[in-house]
């Protein structure tokens, strides 16, 4: 096939056409390129417009984001920083863009950690992850941020790093404050006295503030505000400052405790604290007349940072926490506000300790009074026991004397009269004499009087107890008892030697036995009495058991004090006063057992 050659004119026209097509392309007035294979749509403007809109949208999102956002190139230079970033850090976009790591917001003390985190997040191109950092603003203020870092990749390589920050400074402060508060609460709640409480408190304040000198002043009843605990103040300062009085001295300490503060002044807080972070520079701006109003001792000894934080207890201020340091800016406002919270806790702790001390004092006073009263009672009881012993002894002596007198006087007189009457009867000699009968009757009367006299004498004090001892006296007593009360059988079991019975106990054993036998004879309706007197180890034991009708112990005991009763109290007293123990068991219808025992050694 032969192809027709174009003419010059045709070539010229085609060239013109091609130029026109090219011009249209340049003018961007072409929509499509047509070929046999496909139609290529050209949408340059639309794409550009969409791209521009997309960029505007993204840029607007970043710019209007309330969170600071930074975009960093792979060479660590800052590509973009949004207005929130500028606001938080204090650095302008112009200052930031192009800056490479280390960035101006990094802090010296955390540089190592930040570098490590940064390497992980940016240089190693790790995926999105969160971390918390501690940075500083252009003016040096610290802040905390939570960073969500994202690596933006292109063709598998990290192209940008996008860091989205959330300012968590306030949250961190609250967390820190809570942690501090918890630590102080633990101290306050420990059960300890004032001195250890204040010492532990100051140690924690030292760890919190890093300040070199700390003290706690407490207001006393005399209006003085001495330091109850301190660290870091030299002896001269302590001796000069501790005796301050609310009545006679004027300084910031007294102002704070009196609550005489003006929160409008820059060195007072709304919570009533005084604080200053550059005393020398501040005093340089104050006139001598103004300076004269306070003592300025802290500045004189070189403290540049000073905080005086009131300790509230109840409705009043009862002291203050004194924090001082030779360096400037050691007690910023937020630290003072934190100290105000812990000082409030300290106030609660001090109040608790004071209450406990007062309670302890009252308790101790009560204890002493109880001890005194107990001692008085013991002494009184001892005196009473002594008196009782003396009384019983006097009673026995008196009985012995009366018995002796009866024997020596009345007995002797009666015996003499009887002898005289008998002599008179012999002199008459005549059995039929009428006087004989009368005289014999008189002799019988005198004999009866003599017998009665002897019986009274024996009841008062059987002389054989002193002359022969306890065991023969008991035998004689039982023999005589049975001649009177023949219906009551007596079984004796004596397992003790006369020499083993302490002399002072002989009359006691006899009287207890005598009283018991009298009760048995008068009230028990017994037919059998068992007596056991024996030596058991180092004790002497007396048991008297009857098979009578018994009695109600409580009822009888209640009558003992008001009526004559059974003499149980008397038996118990005699036994206990002589160092022994006394016990009685009785059940109605089942007889009575009396047990008395004495230690033998003490009475030997």
């Amino acid at each position: 096939m032969r192809i027709k050659k174009p003419t010059y004119q045709e070539l010229k026209e085609r060239l013109a056409e091609a130029e026109a097509a090219l011009a249209a392309l340049r003018r961007e007035e072409v929509d499509a390129v047509v070929s046999e294979q496909h139609i290529l749509l050209l949408r340059v403007k639309e794409v550009e417009q969409a791209l521009r809109e997309s960029e505007e949208f993204s840029s607007s999102l970043l710019a209007n984001s309330p969170n600071p956002i930074v975009v960093i190139n792979s060479d660590t230079s800052i590509r973009y920083a949004n207005p929130a970033m500028e606001k938080l850090t204090g650095f302008s976009k112009a200052e930031l863009v192009g800056t490479k790591a280390p960035y101006p917001w990094w802090t010296e003390e955390t540089l190592e950690k930040i570098h490590k985190d940064f390497e992980e997040a940016v240089l190693k191109g790790k995926g999105a992850y969160k971390l918390e950092e501690h940075f500083q603003t252009k003016s040096g203020e610290r802040f905390f941020v939570e960073i969500t870092s994202t690596s933006v990749k292109s063709n598998g390589e990290s192209k940008y790093y996008l860091g989205s920050w959330v300012d968590i400074t306030e949250r961190k402060r609250v967390e820190e404050a809570l942690e501090v508060s918890n630590r102080f609460l633990q101290i306050i709640n420990k059960q300890m006295g004032m001195t250890p409480l204040l010492k532990e408190f100051l140690a924690e304040i030292h760890s919190l503030t890093g300040c070199a000198a700390l003290g706690v002043r407490l207001l006393d009843d005399a209006g003085n505000i001495p330091y109850h605990a301190y660290v870091g103040f030299n002896q001269e300062f302590y001796e000069k400052e501790s005796p301050l009085s609310m009545k006679s001295d004027q300084c910031m300490c007294t102002n704070v405790i009196k609550g005489e503060i003006d929160p409008a002044l820059p060195f007072y807080t709304a919570g009533g604290s005084f604080y200053i972070n550059a005393t020398s520079r501040f005093l340089a701006t104050v006139s001598e007349r103004e300076k004269g109003k306070t003592r300025n001792e802290c500045n004189r000894v070189g403290f540049e940072s000073v905080a005086l934080v009131p300790i509230p207890i109840g409705d009043g201020i009862h002291g203050l926490v004194h924090v001082a340091d030779p360096r400037e800016n050691m007690v910023p406002l937020e630290m003072v506000e934190l100290l105000e919270k812990v000082a409030m806790q300290l106030g609660t702790g001090i109040h608790r300790v004071k209450v406990e001390e007062a309670l302890q004092k009252a308790h101790n006073g009560l204890e002493i009074r109880v001890q005194e009263r107990t001692a008085e009672l013991v002494a009184t009881n001892e005196a009473l026991r002594h008196l009782s012993r003396k009384l019983l002894s006097a009673q026995e002596d008196e009985r012995r004397r009366i018995a002796g007198d009866l024997h020596d006087t009345l007995g002797a007189s009666l015996a003499g009269i009887k002898l005289m009457v008998e002599n008179s009867l012999k002199q008459i000699g005549d059995p039929a004499n009428a006087a004989n009968e009368s005289l014999n009757t008189i002799i019988l009367e005198i004999q009866e009087a003599l017998d009665e006299c002897r019986r009274i004498q024996t009841d008062l004090r059987p002389s054989m107890l002193d002359d022969l001892g306890l065991l023969p006296t008991l035998s004689w007593y039982f023999r005589r008892f049975q001649t009177i009360y023949s219906g009551i059988r007596i079984e004796q079991e004596v397992q003790i030697m006369e020499d083993d019975v302490p002399p002072l106990l002989k009359i006691v054993v006899f009287r207890v036995t005598q009283e018991s036998m009298n009760n048995i004879a008068k009230h028990s309706h017994s037919t059998l009495v068992r007596l056991s007197l024996r030596k058991l180890n180092d004790r002497m034991e007396l048991i008297l058991q009857d098979n009578g009708r018994g009695f109600n112990l409580e009822k009888v005991a209640s009558q003992e004090t008001t009526t004559r009763g059974l003499g149980l109290t008397s038996m118990r007293e005699r036994t206990e006063l002589s160092g022994g123990s006394f016990n009685i068991e009785s059940t109605e219808g089942k007889g009575t057992i009396i047990r008395a025992s004495w230690p033998l050694r003490e009475n030997d």
Binding site: E17, A20, A21, A24, V30, D31, I39
Partner: protein
Amino acid sequence: MKRSGQRGRVEGAETRGKACIFRLFVAGDERNSRQARENLTQFCEKYLNRRYEVEIVDVLEDFKSALENNVLLTPALIVNSHLTHITIFGTLSDTHKVLSALQLTRGAS
């Protein structure tokens, strides 16, 4: 597929008496193609007083016509008159160029 111009300007009985015949190649309703259509309509109404015929060819539906007429770009206007046969590319915003093609420059000025 051939499509007649807007407003029913293709009327076979009158065609022979028309001053010129236009074939406008467009790509659907793309921005430049739409612009070219509008500009051509305005031009015709202003200068040709119904003595014209417009055929609009959508290359998205009929690309072969474009290739047959050596039209490789859209929008493209082929102008046929007793005086000339010329192809104009673009949106036809330059009225002067179209008038030149129709050799009506003087009348337009």
